[in-house]
Symmetry: C2
C-alpha cells in the first residue's frame, strides 16, 4: 500500500486524549513524519504538534492526512467529511483506521477519483493473499508475542527496530495492526484477513531478505486469548521467527475482555509459544522479555523485572523505562 | 441460512468423478434429500441418482438445486448459467460452494430477485459475527480434530451424529465447510470468516443447548498444518469441546500440500489438542481415534487400528470399515 509521508494528523472532534491513541502512537514513533495536527471544534485531544490548517499542511509538503482517531462504532463523523474532501481537493491522500471505510463515503470516493488521490483504509486488506507455503526463507525474523492482548507488543517491536538501526543492523518493523501500519507506512491488518490466509498474509508481509536482515514483526493477541488465539497462531507460523520476545503486563486481573480467564504464567507462555513456533522454525528461541510496568511504582517495577529475569534467564526489561538494548545484545 | 431440501444435484459438465466429490458426499449422507441429478452434455460424473430434467425436479418437489461440483478456478461455467436461471424461474433456489459467487452472476442475481428465490454461496459467510466471549455454555460438544487436513473429519463427525441419533441421543452435526453445509442445510465456512471472528463464528454455530444435547462439530485443518493451524485453533477454542475425536490417515508421506512437513505422531496430536482445548474447557477429553485406512489392505488396517488402540487406550476405528459405535459407547 505504501502510505506517503509526511503526515498531517487529523484528530477530528475527539472527546478525550484516549480517542486519539492511534495518532499519538504515530506521533511518538515517527515525529519526523508528523508535521502537524488538525483539530475540529470541541476536540479534547492534543498531540503537542503545531496546529495546522489544510493550507498550512499543503504548503509544508504534507502528502497524507491520517485519521488516527477512534470514535464510538468506528464510523466517520459527518463533520469530518467536508475537511477530508477539501484535503483530497488540495492534493493530499487520506489514510484511516476506522471500521467504516473512507472509500465507502461517496463524497470522499468521488473526491479521490477526481483528484487522482489515494484512500487507505488500513484495517481492510485491499489485496488477496496466497495460502502459506511454510517454505523456509532467507533473512531473520523476530516476533513479539504476548501473554495477553494490548501488553505492549507494538511498542517493544518498534523499540527493538530503533535500537537495531542505531547499531547499524538492517531491521524493518513489519506492521500487523492499524497504528503500526501508519508508523511503517505499509503492512497488513492480519486480524482482518480471511482466516485461511493468516499465515499466508504473514509470509507475504515478511518476505525473503538478505541473510543479515531482520524483520521485526508486530505481534497480535495471544495464544492464551480465547477470542483471538487463532490469529496469534497464524502469525506465529507465517513469520517463522528466529527470535521471540515475550511481552507481559503484570497487573491484569484477567485476560483482556474475558473475565474469568486468568493470564498464563511467563514460563507457560514461553513454553507454549516455543512449542508452536517450532513447527515452522525448529531453531526458534526467546531472546528477551518486555514488561509493561506502567502500573507499578519504580521500586516494585525493578524488583519485578529482576524476578522475571532470574526465573527465565532472559534479558528482562521495560522498553519504556529502560529501553531494549539488553534484548538486542542477546540477538547477536 | 437454512437451505431448503429436497435437492437436485447439479453436476454440470464435470470432467471426472472427482470433480463431483462434494455432490457425492451430500448424496452419501443425505440420500433422502437428494432426489436426482442433472448432468450436462459431456458430464463424466455419476452419483447413481435418477437423471432428472428441471421439470421432473419441480414435479418431485425439489426446493434447491445444489451445485456440488468443482472446476478449475472455482468459477461458474458459462453453460451452467442458462440451466440455473431456468431453475430459478421455475421456483427453485440455488446453493453453490464455488469460489465465484452465484450471486455475482448478474443473470442469476436478477433471476433470483424477480422470482423471490434464494442464492446460497456456502463458501462465503453472509452474516457478521461477534468476537468470541469464551463464556461457558450449556449443552455438550464434540469436535473432530486431525493430524492433517482431509483425513476424514467430516465423515467421522457425520458417522457419530448418525450413530447417536440411532440410539436416541440428541445430536446435531454442525458444518464448518462447504460439503458439510449442504449436508446440514446450514453452517459456517469458518476458513472464509475474517480471522478476528473464527472463534466467535464457532460460538455462534454451536450455541447453548439442552444439557443432554450434543453438537458434533466438523473440524478443519490441523494444529500441525503450517498454512491452516490458526483456523483449527480458533475452531477448537470457540467450540469449547467436551469431547475430541482424533482423525488420521496413516499413509501420508508429508502434510497435505507441504512437502518437508512430517505428520505428527498420534500421541503428539492428542497431547497438543488437549493442551490447547483446555483453555476454554478444562474438562475436555479424547473419546476416540478415527483412522482412514482406505490406503491399507484389510489385515494391515486391522493391525494398525489395534496398535493405535493399544498405544492410546482409546477406542480406535475406521468409520468406513467398522462404524463408530465404540466411540459413541465411550461418550456415555
Amino acid at each position: 500500500m505504501a502510505i506517503q509521508h509526511p503526515y498531517l494528523m487529523f484528530l477530528g472532534d475527539s472527546p478525550d486524549q484516549l480517542a486519539a491513541k492511534v495518532a499519538q502512537g504515530v506521533a511518538h514513533w515517527r515525529p519526523e513524519w508528523c508535521l502537524g495536527q488538525l483539530r475540529l471544534e470541541g476536540c479534547k485531544a492534543d498531540l503537542k504538534l503545531p496546529d495546522m490548517t489544510l493550507a498550512d499542511a499543503r504548503e509544508k509538503g504534507v502528502k497524507t492526512v491520517v485519521v488516527g482517531v477512534a470514535n464510538r462504532g468506528g464510523v466517520i463523523g459527518a463533520s469530518w467529511v467536508e475537511v477530508l474532501e477539501q484535503a483530497l481537493d488540495m492534493g493530499m491522500d487520506i489514510a484511516a483506521g476506522l471500521h467504516q471505510k473512507v472509500a465507502d463515503v461517496p463524497r470522499l470516493a468521488e473526491a479521490a477519483a477526481r483528484n487522482g488521490r489515494k484512500l487507505f483504509d488500513v484495517r481492510h486488506p485491499t489485496r488477496s493473499f496466497d495460502v502459506a507455503s511454510g517454505v523456509k526463507r532467507s533473512g531473520k525474523r523476530l516476533l513479539a508475542v504476548g501473554t495477553d492482548c494490548s501488553v505492549g507488543k507494538m511498542y517493544a517491536s518498534l523499540a527493538i527496530e530503533q535500537e537495531m538501526r542505531k547499531r547499524g543492523i538492517k531491521a524493518d518493523f513489519r506492521a500487523t495492526g492499524q497504528t503500526g501500519i501508519f508508523i511503517a507506512g505499509d503492512g497488513v491488518s492480519v486480524d482482518a484477513v480471511v482466516s485461511d490466509f493468516i499465515s499466508g498474509a504473514t509470509e507475504w508481509l515478511t518476505p525473503e531478505n538478505a541473510p543479515d536482515h531482520w524483520d521485526i514483526v508486530e505481534g497480535q493477541g495471544s495464544l492464551f486469548h480465547a477470542s483471538f488465539a487463532g490469529v496469534s497462531l497464524g502469525l506465529l507460523h507465517g513469520s517463522q521467527p528466529d527470535a521471540l520476545v515475550l511481552c507481559h503486563e503484570p497487573t491484569r486481573a484477567h485476560m483482556r475482555g474475558l473475565p474469568g480467564y486468568k493470564l498464563p504464567s511467563i514460563e507457560e507462555a514461553i513454553d507454549l509459544n516455543l512449542r508452536m513456533a517450532r513447527l515452522t522454525n525448529p531453531d526458534v528461541r526467546f531472546v528477551g522479555v518486555a514488561i509493561n510496568t506502567s502500573g507499578l511504582g519504580e521500586d516494585e517495577a525493578l524488583g519485578y523485572l529482576q524476578k522475571v529475569e532470574a526465573e527465565t534467564g532472559l534479558p528482562t526489561t521495560d522498553p519504556v523505562r529502560q529501553g531494549v538494548a539488553r534484548i538486542v545484545d542477546n540477538l547477536a
